[in-house]
Subunit: 256 residues, 2 copies
């Protein structure tokens, strides 16, 4: 029988710029008596990656551009906050009363470009997403493999709102050592009919699954270890950016 196990590493220390996340993860796993094994998928909250990478900015140090001032007026947001958002932005998708939705430089369409203050110390401090979340995942994976000898995968996750659905779920925004999709197209179903459409975004599903142990509030746990996920490809060079669909390919174009 297939059984997936998802473990949240409790008691993870508060992360500061320059911390070696691989070391912290290995220490936390030891303390919790969780072994790190070949094939494990480590799901890591964007927040701790951004903090370790120094992607924390105090608003008082930000000087807003003219564009940020204009967008801030349109959205009734702090122009310095908008400046942080625009630094990560390829295109503004929507700027209206209190809503700022952008396509970020990695092609992810999201609110405020992922700039966020939850679980960040200091009243006017915000995190920005890692500059290259796939690269951060690759580095973390390499370092964990170097220190443990175990061939793991890494998914960096963040919390996102979705069109048409209420509430948020975790998405995969960076990954290494795991294919973001399980593609069933061209395969056969139970009755040997051809599957023409099914291409499952397993990396998003793993991120969502990990949230169930990670949580969001003051009990927040930034690391989950997911064991025994079958049917995913692990060898190859992968990117979470392929989870972002282009406007042209998006079947939901002109539906909102």
């Amino acid at each position: 029988m297939q059984e997936i196990r998802i473990m949240g590493l409790e008691g993870f220390p508060l992360v500061k710029t320059g911390d070696d996340l691989a070391v912290l993860i290995i220490q936390a796993a030891e303390k919790e008596q969780v072994s790190i094994d070949d094939g494990d998928i480590l799901v890591v909250s964007q927040k701790v990656v951004s903090k370790a990478n120094g992607r924390v900015t105090q608003l008082k140090t930000v000087k807003p551009s003219k564009k940020a001032l204009a967008v801030a007026r349109k959205t009734s947001k702090d122009p310095r906050f908008v400046e942080l958002v625009l630094e990560e932005t390829a295109n503004i998708v929507k700027a209206s009363a209190e809503i700022l939705i952008v396509e970020n430089k990695g092609g992810l369409v999201c609110i405020n470009s992922g700039v966020d203050k939850s679980n960040v110390p200091g009243v006017d401090s915000y995190t920005s997403l890692p500059q290259d979340s796939d690269e951060s995942a690759r580095k973390l994976r390499t370092q964990i493999m170097r220190l443990t000898g175990r061939k793991v995968a890494v998914i960096i996750c963040d919390t996102y709102s979705r069109p048409f659905r209420r509430g948020q779920v975790e998405f995969a925004i960076g990954l290494a050592g795991i294919h973001p999709f399980k593609d069933y197209r061209g395969k056969r179903d139970l009755y040997h009919h051809l599957l023409r459409v099914k291409n499952v975004a397993v990396a998003d599903e793993i991120a969502a699954a990990a949230e169930l142990v990670m949580g969001q509030g003051d009990e927040g746990i930034p690391i989950a270890i997911v064991k025994n996920v079958k049917r995913v490809e692990r060898d190859g060079s992968f990117s979470a950016e392929s989870l972002n669909i282009s406007r042209e390919e998006d079947l939901f174009r002109e539906t909102l």
Copy 2:
């Protein structure tokens, strides 16, 4: 340490109209030596619920309406298939070359109203979603509790495409015995800042997590048992329809 376990019930029989899913689930769990315990969440594929409920239609028995004929011309689809879709539809959201996106009667915006032929026997047979997926979940939950004495929750899941993201994930389309959201709004983060937005769609996350053992193709497993999910509310009367956000509330309005 928090540890969630997700088990796929392999060797589940092919389901026919009139089958008692509760009995089949209990038998499959016994065969796999998985205990059903208080607090377990049973995730059940829409496909087996629709089959047990007799929601399978052969196209050759369908007489398309004038509206179905018109929509079929617009979308290059079989008018009898379109008739099945329209029977479940509250509003057509998009009908263009080969794409038919609707809001179904439960408020779910999706492709083809969930009418689908994968894992359905017969070349021209299609399943429609359960008429009331929450009611189906409630009945299944009651029957399992009656037969086992265990207080379980039930989530009925189906595979959906999402705007902006490539590939599909499972969503919760019916549920009983579990709150679809974990609401952090008004709570405090690690640094005691107020969380203003976080309202996590845990039922969608659990559906996505279950897909990791369920799969989609000829190895498809229609039932997963999810154990040890904390931080979800279980007492009360809940509906998966609250996962559908209204056009007015949707922050992504006018972004596609």
